[in-house]
Amino acid sequence: MTLQQQITEAYASATPLSICGGSSKQFLGNPVAGEALSTTEQRGVINYQPDELVMTVRSGTPLLEVKEILAAQHQRLAFEPPSFGKSATIGGTFACGISGPSRPWAGSARDSLLGCTIINGRGEQLHFGGEVIKNVAGYDATRLMVGAFGTLGLIMDVSFRVLPVPATEITLSFSVDAAQAVTSVVAWSQKPLPISAAAWLDGELLLRLSGAEAAIRSAQLQLGGEVSKQRDFWLQLREQQLDFFQSVKPLWRLSLPMAADPLDIPGEQLIEWGGAQRWLLTDEKAEAVRQAATSAGGHATCFRNAQENDIFSPLSKPMLTLQQRLKKSFDPKGILNPGRIYTEL
């Protein structure tokens, strides 16, 4: 049976489905009680024209395969998605919408997405967006799929923008405390410098510069610091392979305005995205962590080792009502990954 037939049947019998690609991000979100529906057969590149900077791929294609094909043409995904394991698929990558270290400077997963084919909860196959960079015909249902964790539709294929690999990349290291790290990156980000990543951990700020060789050299002169010898730091950060991430404590992801003051909450911290993404290992109560994030103007997600359900910050009542209606418009019987993000969606 095709995926569409399976969803059509599930719609008829109101059977909840649990959609999975490579299952590399099962840990993120609430568990879904439903019949498993796998996209891994839905595989292969549909169209890739390097000189158009656009690729269209079936959703079950492994992310690593996509990255290899792009690398062969000196291109890459601008948002540096993590795989969290070899099995990650490109569909899951967009459905979860997780972006890597370059996010504040190169844009997010949704910023790269141009079009998709989905099957909604009525079993209807729909195509939105396309392979062109500019397209404002109809509502942007394409980007709505990013971060929806498959609750609005099963993604069949995606078209996305790709970018050339930068000619040069170096990482500078500075010995500073957390507060100084954020202040420095905030100040540098207001200048035209080729910054492409910034992270702070254990008293060290690491700053990555990407671009033309000449631009990097002149930025290096302005910024000072030592050239870091840590190989693969950004890869290990992206894939959460650094020692910091090996803890069994709940790992919180706080998404905050970049310049937000240092968090006043016990626990160990790794600051990413120049301050806009802060990882926190803590045994503090969920409510306390959420409160800290909200008062700083952001939100908190219990990313790993969650002690309880509802790992995403709750929505306001009117916002939740609207999102429920939106969910219904795609999936009237609530059969697609019900409860994965919020019990009500």
């Binding site: 158009e52 396309g130 500019k134 249902a141 207001q190």
Partner: protein, 485 residues
């Protein structure tokens, strides 16, 4: 149309004397946006000044089931802000304050009626600017930009409006205020921010916008290249992008557009060229010099006949002046012009140019071509005279053919101007009934009674069915004299 007395009394109690327009004569000033071929006198025009007033007005409309059309500066080119005769036109023009420039978080919070260019001007002292720059930027509002997901010449490198908006405050049709997005880079739940961008006033009224600011690049230089064959120019565009360079802007104009612009602003364009490219490179001095060299090589390979490089800011602005005023310049060539907005995959450019030329001959109307070539966004400008026989009908038909051609080669009927009332029929070509139905369902989730800008952006299915049935012979409508809009 005459307003219901109770509704009118309600509006009068919300708005002061000069904030409500009821007189026919004054209402006429709002009868159309930039698409002047579509005109309707609104029932009433409201010019609120506070968010509370907007909330009360929408509540009142909701109670009385009166449709509402939002309007920014009215520069839209697809009839998005075209009023309804039984509807209220809600102008956001008085929401014109810049609320905050937050250099540390690189963002600006402004009211929706603030002009696009005013944001960059206010950010300039901080060394920052707002990147999306529609050619209408001195007039169009940021609220309108968000509603249309507008683009500009710098969007190739820096993204469209949707990539540069962080947070919105939106009033729903029942008067409820929602915050969509946040001061952080993401929010949990569905990405309603993406959905609001390009929603053409159909999902909610935007009353506050927080946009991203970027550091002003230390150097920006523009190179003009002339070609005696437009196809060569098209191929050069593809090769520049393929070489790994993302120019800050990469624009193309054909001979008719070049001559019109040159006569209008004297930008120094070669009037005998078949096409010109304007390629802007920005970044550090070193980067820019390096990229200019590479671009020049590619241009030579494609037989460009001459190049010119801006040596200072004044020259750069002058080279852009011709492009930025291309629409009004072409507007001087004929009593009327009709601006199209299709997008195509870049490599289709030479083929599409050829076929647009053929269509121009077939319909006996001249076309000047202006493109955001780097991102495959075409603006064919069809010249006509509405007072001459069937020229307007011919222009609209020709326009529709061009959009069909864009869809056929894998593109879209609109890259940045939106669907509005103008391209509602072409939506039937780009989308299948089930997709349109999903759009209607999305709309209903926000606005179940269909009171926000009804009839725009997404066609009713029966309309598409009728059109489909009429497309019997080579796509020619059998009853061209019937009003289609």
């Amino acid at each position: 149309m005459i307003a219901d007395p109770q509704f009118l009394a309600g509006l009068r109690s919300i708005l002061g004397g000069d904030s409500l327009i009821e007189e026919q004569e004054e209402l006429t000033a709002y009868e159309c946006d930039g698409l002047s071929a579509h005109r309707t006198i609104p029932m009433l025009v409201a010019l609120p000044e506070t968010v509370e007033q907007v909330q009360q007005i929408l509540k009142l409309c909701y109670q009385h089931k009166v449709p509402v059309v939002a309007r920014g500066a009215g520069t839209g080119l697809s009839g998005g802000a075209q009023p309804l005769e039984n509807g209220l036109l809600l102008s956001l023009a008085r929401f014109n304050r810049i609320l905050d420039i937050d250099a540390d978080n690189r963002c600006a919070t402004v009211q929706p009626g603030v002009r696009n260019l005013a944001i960059s001007e206010a950010a300039k002292p901080y060394g920052l600017y707002y990147a999306p720059d529609p050619s209408s930027q001195i007039a169009c509002t940021i609220g309108g930009n968000v509603a249309e997901n507008s683009g500009g010449v710098h969007c190739l490198k820096y993204g469209l409006t949707v990539h540069n908006v962080r947070k919105l405050r939106v009033i729903c049709i029942d008067g409820e205020m929602l915050t969509i997005g946040s001061d952080a880079l993401d929010t949990p739940g569905y990405d309603l921010l993406a959905l609001m961008n390009g929603s053409e006033g159909l999902l909610g009224i935007i009353v506050e916008v927080t946009v991203n600011l970027l550091p002003i690049p230390p150097t920006a230089r523009v190179m003009l290249a002339a070609f005696d064959d437009a196809e060569n120019a098209g191929k050069a565009v593809s090769d520049i992008i393929a070489s790994g360079i993302i120019p800050a802007g990469l624009e193309m104009m054909d001979n008719l557009a070049i001559r019109a612009a040159e006569d209008f602003v004297h930008a120094g364009y070669p009037k005998d060229a078949a096409a010109i490219l304007l390629c802007e490179l920005d970044g550090t001095d070193e980067e820019v010099s390096h990229e200019i060299e590479k671009v020049e090589q590619i241009l030579q390979q494609h037989h460009c006949t001459a190049t010119r490089l801006s040596e200072n800011e004044e020259q750069r602005m002058q080279l852009w002046a011709g492009r930025k005023s291309a629409f009004p310049a072409v507007g001087r060539l004929a009593p009327d012009y009709y601006c199209m907005d299709g997008t195509i995959p870049r490599h289709q450019l030479p083929e599409v140019l050829r076929r647009i030329n053929a269509l121009s001959q077939q319909y006996e109307l001249a076309i000047a071509n202006v493109f955001h070539a780097g991102d495959g966004n075409l603006h064919p400008l069809i010249l006509y005279d509405a007072n001459e026989g069937d020229q307007l009908q011919r222009a609209e038909k020709l326009g529709s053919k061009i959009l069909q051609l864009c869809v056929e080669v894998g593109g879209s009927i609109t890259g940045e101007h939106g669907v509005g009332s103008e391209k509602i029929d072409e939506m039937c070509i780009q989308f299948k009934p089930l997709e349109l139905q999903q759009f209607h369902a999305i709309k209903a989730a926000f606005d179940e009674h269909g009171l926000l800008n009804p009839g725009k952006a997404v066609p009713e299915l029966h309309r598409c069915a009728e059109l489909g049935a009429m497309h019997v012979h080579n796509g020619e409508l059998p009853f061209p004299e019937l009003e289609r809009f």
